[in-house]
Symmetry: C2
Subunit: 200 residues, 2 copies
Amino acid sequence: MEKEEHMKISVIIGHPYSKSFNAALAEKTTETLKKRGHEVFFHDLYRENFNPVLSPEELAGQDGGDELVRIHRKEIKEADGIVLIHPEWWGQPPAVLKGWVDRVLVPGTAYETTMTENGSVTKGLLKAETVILFATSNTPAEREEGVLGDPLLHIWRDCTFSFCSKAVFDRIMFRVIETSTAGERKQWLEDAAGMLEKYF
Amino acid sequence: MEKEEHMKISVIIGHPYSKSFNAALAEKTTETLKKRGHEVFFHDLYRENFNPVLSPEELAGQDGGDELVRIHRKEIKEADGIVLIHPEWWGQPPAVLKGWVDRVLVPGTAYETTMTENGSVTKGLLKAETVILFATSNTPAEREEGVLGDPLLHIWRDCTFSFCSKAVFDRIMFRVIETSTAGERKQWLEDAAGMLEKYF
């Protein structure tokens, strides 16, 4: 499956702690991708103080004047692949990452909508061929996939990237993080690298 | 179903526009609840500049020093009922409302966790008996409940309030908002009032 070409990969992490296992995943991701010759657009949303609140002007389709958001929009349009890294909170990404979706994946960047007599028709604009999710969770798999309906799969694959790209979606859920051992976490970093090497 | 007693109801809205249909729903909600003699804890998260980003200190269980968050936590513990009003963006609430969950529904306020040999055991702390969701959407019901797996139901009922309360969950999805007529929206406000009168 090894691909030879140089790719641009967006790596986006949203976690409050700079020394979290999420941060270790981000470091391993960047290192693995660079070793394979790819260009990495790296963003730690907490460290860069990303503001997740979509403004009224932005909702109206205007440029809100946030230079950081402009950079994110430019990069995500160019990305051949996207890697998202976050803890699962309430079956969802942290607000800072939800706001990245709200503010960055806007019409003109991620999709375009044409109004017809029968309602709106949407076309995805992202060229990324692969989206990878690395999420940490404290919810056991049985409960997550049963009672909760595997919310992150729906949120990221069906509600987000199916809407604005033709990308293949794959992921690893690292669980249960709170009771994991150092040995397990070490192996998990290798598992993450293995998935990245499969696609990029 | 009419209940005589005085209740405390938290009403939380997250929408960028102050003249949106969401804002009209919030106004109708407050008016209906007050007319029935209830006390309303009203918060328009955009208007009050609620910061949705959970800080590292807060994740560690410390008080982050945000007075507004303290008020939210105090009120949500006291609330007999909760009404959430928001547009559906990417199958989810806007980031500002996701961050309200992240920062307000914290351990000690919304739930408590006890570690045991077999992992953690959680007990909900919210006393609210009813949670009502009014969400506006541009996704047709077939697609939402089919392809997307009805994400808002899972997010709010299963992932959030089942975890921290014993509340009954009910909702109205107002759709398709972008092609709705003034007459439909007027009726929708009455539908919202009808649901509130049923529970509160």
